[in-house]
Symmetry: C2
Subunit: 336 residues, 2 copies
Amino acid sequence: MTPNQITLDHGAGGQASHELVHDLFLKRLNNKFLRQMDDSAVVDLTGGRFAVTTDSYVVDPIFFPGGNIGSLAVHGTINDLCMQGAVPLYLTLGLILEEGLPMEDLIRIMDSVSEAAQEAGVKVVAGDTKVVPKGKMDKVFINTAGIGSIPEGVEVGSHNGRPGDLVLINGDIGDHGIAVLSSREGLDFQTGLKSDSAPLNGLVSAVLAAGSRVHVLRDPTRGGVATALNEIAGQSKVGIHLFEEALPISKPVMAASELLGLDPLYLANEGKCLIAVDPKAADAVLKVMRRHRYGRKAEIIGQVTEQNPGRVLLKTRVGGTRILSMLTGDQLPRIC
Amino acid sequence: MTPNQITLDHGAGGQASHELVHDLFLKRLNNKFLRQMDDSAVVDLTGGRFAVTTDSYVVDPIFFPGGNIGSLAVHGTINDLCMQGAVPLYLTLGLILEEGLPMEDLIRIMDSVSEAAQEAGVKVVAGDTKVVPKGKMDKVFINTAGIGSIPEGVEVGSHNGRPGDLVLINGDIGDHGIAVLSSREGLDFQTGLKSDSAPLNGLVSAVLAAGSRVHVLRDPTRGGVATALNEIAGQSKVGIHLFEEALPISKPVMAASELLGLDPLYLANEGKCLIAVDPKAADAVLKVMRRHRYGRKAEIIGQVTEQNPGRVLLKTRVGGTRILSMLTGDQLPRIC
């Protein structure tokens, strides 16, 4: 019998922990690795290059339009692996739960973890659950670490942007930030706006298969497009020009940003990918992206330059230019 | 200039996050993988079997006699890998910090992470930092995930205990549990008792090198020796007899346990390893353990039996026998 709340016993490593793992987790994440139920999973890897990453998720609220902390944790870590051109293989899942969390919330979250992992074709191979006394944390925090294999010949990275490269994005900017913020604050923009949280491994595979001229992949999560482009500019020692008029931003995000005094270029995204590609291959890549379900609204939004290394410049609609710095300060805490 | 407290900006993914990573983390965990500063680290792995694990640490207090949450997080995950016979290679480090955490606390924790990783010969290859508004969590939570390579021919696991095997432990039971509890509650037993938190990869390598007759390795952390032995008994479908008189327990732990009404067999350990080994090899393994700095007080404490599969029986000092069940309920929340 499953109790209707998380208790400290669920994190104590004894009988209740075992029942939780068996009845709730194994059922949803059933695979031969987890079934070992040992301290670690044993996995086989062929030799080669692998991407390894970790991310913790503390999003508030834990349920938001378009997803929840469980799907977000899976998508986010999968996307970090993709950004190295890696094929995501295995995830670990570390849950920190507040005593008293409704069991139905945990079930919804684990259902989403399971669905997200299945969609992306990754396996959750190891997990851990800790429970913290009521009031000593806020509901649920999740850590996901991940391993992916990097196919031979793939060389992408934030250091690899080259002057002349065109910069593409796979769709609207800022949806995640506004969706989470509006549901947190109880704002209702009556727009049906949802988080863009999504696994990008399929899209990235398609893009990489389209040719070897993709130089940079980067997901503009915390800190948004502006911060991610600054990182690329810094690590690649290049400048980046961004074309304001080309930026895909939905009307609801534009309206909400104006209302709240936020800049969409600094809003978090959880299903977006910035791509720098040789200009000769850009049209082909754009076509591939637009054919994919997570790339329908893909656009060319900028270009890498030799001038202004380390800087990102926004060419505004009215013909001016302004420097887009990295995010300073925190627009929105607990956005992911 | 480093501010003297953690602010929300440190978790926002912008300028302050970058400075924290560069000035505090990279300095202490400097390696070529982290220096890439990309979404994921890229590591080379030769083909074969690998152990993968994850653990979150929510210990209260974050500093305790014999260690802190940083060293504990490194040791705990290293030990989980060891328990598969794996050689720990890479760790990821996910920090969740409360706004207002004194910077000097974070520095002490990161110093310990660095020292612990160096002692064990592992590299922290990827990290993530989130900051949660003050009051929404308690100081510091850490997740460490890890990857280790399993040498060819090594086959250990909790499912692999065989009737006749002798059960060994590398030293005193319950030190971590009592050390953390007494420092949390401000109890002062005037004993100088310290947590046993330690990396066991050196000890395990030495034991495995001593022969191929080691069948089970298991660290008795949350839930203690009694719970770990129950897991072995269940997974191996064997019984285990434990000899009460042979159990190494220090006088301070014995005294504190009596005072507090706790059973040392259910107290958490963070530098202990249960080993089930063919009786013919037990003496040789015991000798190897006692030569190692983390095995000086090693003892043979029990035997695997065909009878009573799934059960752990304690042969008491006075000649009686009682069933040792798995931990039910939580003796001590936030012990790791």
